[in-house]
Symmetry: C2
Subunit: 299 residues, 2 copies
């Protein structure tokens, strides 16, 4: 079975079409790697690419894109609404097929090392690649942004994982790491009381004692007058969707509230949902890799 890795590099350019076009061309330059999607946002002044390919190909294209971005993007002249610290701001690697999270960590380290050796752009390892807990969260790593980084790197605990304690003068510094695919999953309640959605969100999210791989807040769907528990499931194998669904159902019951529907926003790996079918249908001994037809088509 062929190993497949997803890579979703974020670049600090969302306005200059010539630069974006050059990045798109480079993204298609490695055989065995497919550019699935890319989008640019002018107000954020940022572009997000989604690539998938074999481990070697994806490592190569990540490096090439980072090199090109460092040649085309000058962070000393960059402005935009989205927090950022580098021309290539962040490079996550996500396991897609027949590859472990650990192997994606290795890929991230290899790419980070090469980026420093050949481009002199330092990096922080984040998420599953983080060498200390304080670097797991991207927001914490990026705090201070490009302009604050020279000072931040002098702080005892913020030496880069690769490179010296100074940013690349125009390309800044990059966060590189492996993470599980994220599933954006929302549950709609039979109430318009946002307090109930907030109370339930609190019971299921990791930060207040809930599930380790669940982030959750209550939000109001104003057009439908419906309160919603809005979640980011950051590791659907560690915390499956059906488990939070059943806990939301149980917690809602104490308020006399039930679940009226749910939403999956954007992409999800098939397995995140097939795991739910396995649970509800009580399927015994199901072998996802072998028994799902599409897994054989992916080669």
């Amino acid at each position: 079975m062929a190993k497949l890795v997803e890579c979703i590099p974020n670049f600090s350019e969302g306005r200059d079409q010539a630069v974006i076009d050059a990045l798109v061309k480079e993204a298609k330059s490695v055989s065995g790697v497919t550019l699935l999607d890319y989008s640019s946002d002018a107000s954020h002044n940022r572009s997000v690419f989604t690539l998938v390919g074999d481990p070697d190909g994806i490592a190569e294209v990540a490096f090439r894109l980072c090199k090109l971005a460092s040649e085309k993007i000058d962070m000393t002249k960059h402005s935009g609404e989205h927090p950022r610290m580098g021309a290539t701001d962040v490079i996550p690697f996500v396991p897609v097929k027949d590859i472990s999270a650990e192997e994606c960590v290795e890929i991230s380290k290899k790419v980070a090392e090469r980026i420093y050796n050949e481009l002199k752009i330092p990096s922080f390892l984040y998420e599953d690649s983080a060498r200390r807990e304080s670097r797991r969260n991207l927001a914490a790593v990026r705090k201070g942004q490009f302009e604050g980084m020279p000072e931040k790197l002098q702080q005892e605990e913020w030496a880069p994982d690769f490179g010296e304690r100074k940013i690349h003068p125009t390309a800044g510094i990059t966060a590189i790491g492996a993470r599980m695919p994220l599933v954006a999953f929302n549950i709609n309640l039979s109430t318009s009381d946002i307090n109930i959605a907030n109370a339930i969100a609190k019971t299921i999210r990791a930060s207040s004692g809930g599930f380790k791989y669940c982030k959750a807040i209550g939000v109001m769907l104003e057009d439908r007058n419906v309160a919603q528990v809005s979640m980011n499931m950051v590791n659907y194998e560690g915390t499956p969707l059906y488990r939070v669904f059943e806990v939301v159902r149980a917690e809602a019951a104490r308020w006399g509230v039930h679940i009226i529907g749910s939403e999956v926003i954007g992409l999800t790996p098939a397995k995140a949902l097939v795991d739910c079918a396995e649970y509800y249908l009580k399927i015994e001994n199901f072998d996802y890799a072998k028994q799902v037809l599409e897994n054989h088509l992916l080669g």
Copy 2:
């Protein structure tokens, strides 16, 4: 998005390795078509191939295999336990991705026409390709087998769909048609009473008033002392797995019996299970083609 069709031709040879090897080689002769699996059974004297590819490629390989089988297999000398009527006994085409059942019907007709024009092997169109209801069921079409076909073809209602009223002298006649993928799905009950499994099977199968696309019988799992409702789901979009599961649950309740587990045997399309997750999680407006990551990887 690339269209993908599965083809599962059955050949009346399961003993002569040289013939099987030649068929395997031919199965790999068309670019864009992958041989996913093949298996041969000596007592059945039959081989089953599983191929997947684009519509043109799959039509080409089906023709080539049928041609080779007609050159290598002499039905006047064939014996085996499995019913059969042709060197290539049956050629089903199954929609896998971005292709409708109707398009697979067109492929089946095109292949059947070419097989008669170039090889003079007549064919019956069956399943979704059948031009009359009596030819939908393969067992009915094949009744009489190779030896009885010359006489059967003289009956008013059994003229072949392609070809004259006579079989190919050594290759016989072939059933060709489109069908949905079949999911073998079994539900285990908290009882050892086979009568309960039989009674439930009767309520859900089409032949006795149940779901149109469900075939079901009761069977006994002797090693576990568990009665099972064993099903072939012949169209999981027309009759979804979760719907029969819930009806089995409800019917079992009248005997004080509950569902202790289920099994999916062999391959299933991911969508048959993702549809179940959609049902149980009450997911609103889910777009399978767009939102499932793997669908983008299949190109």
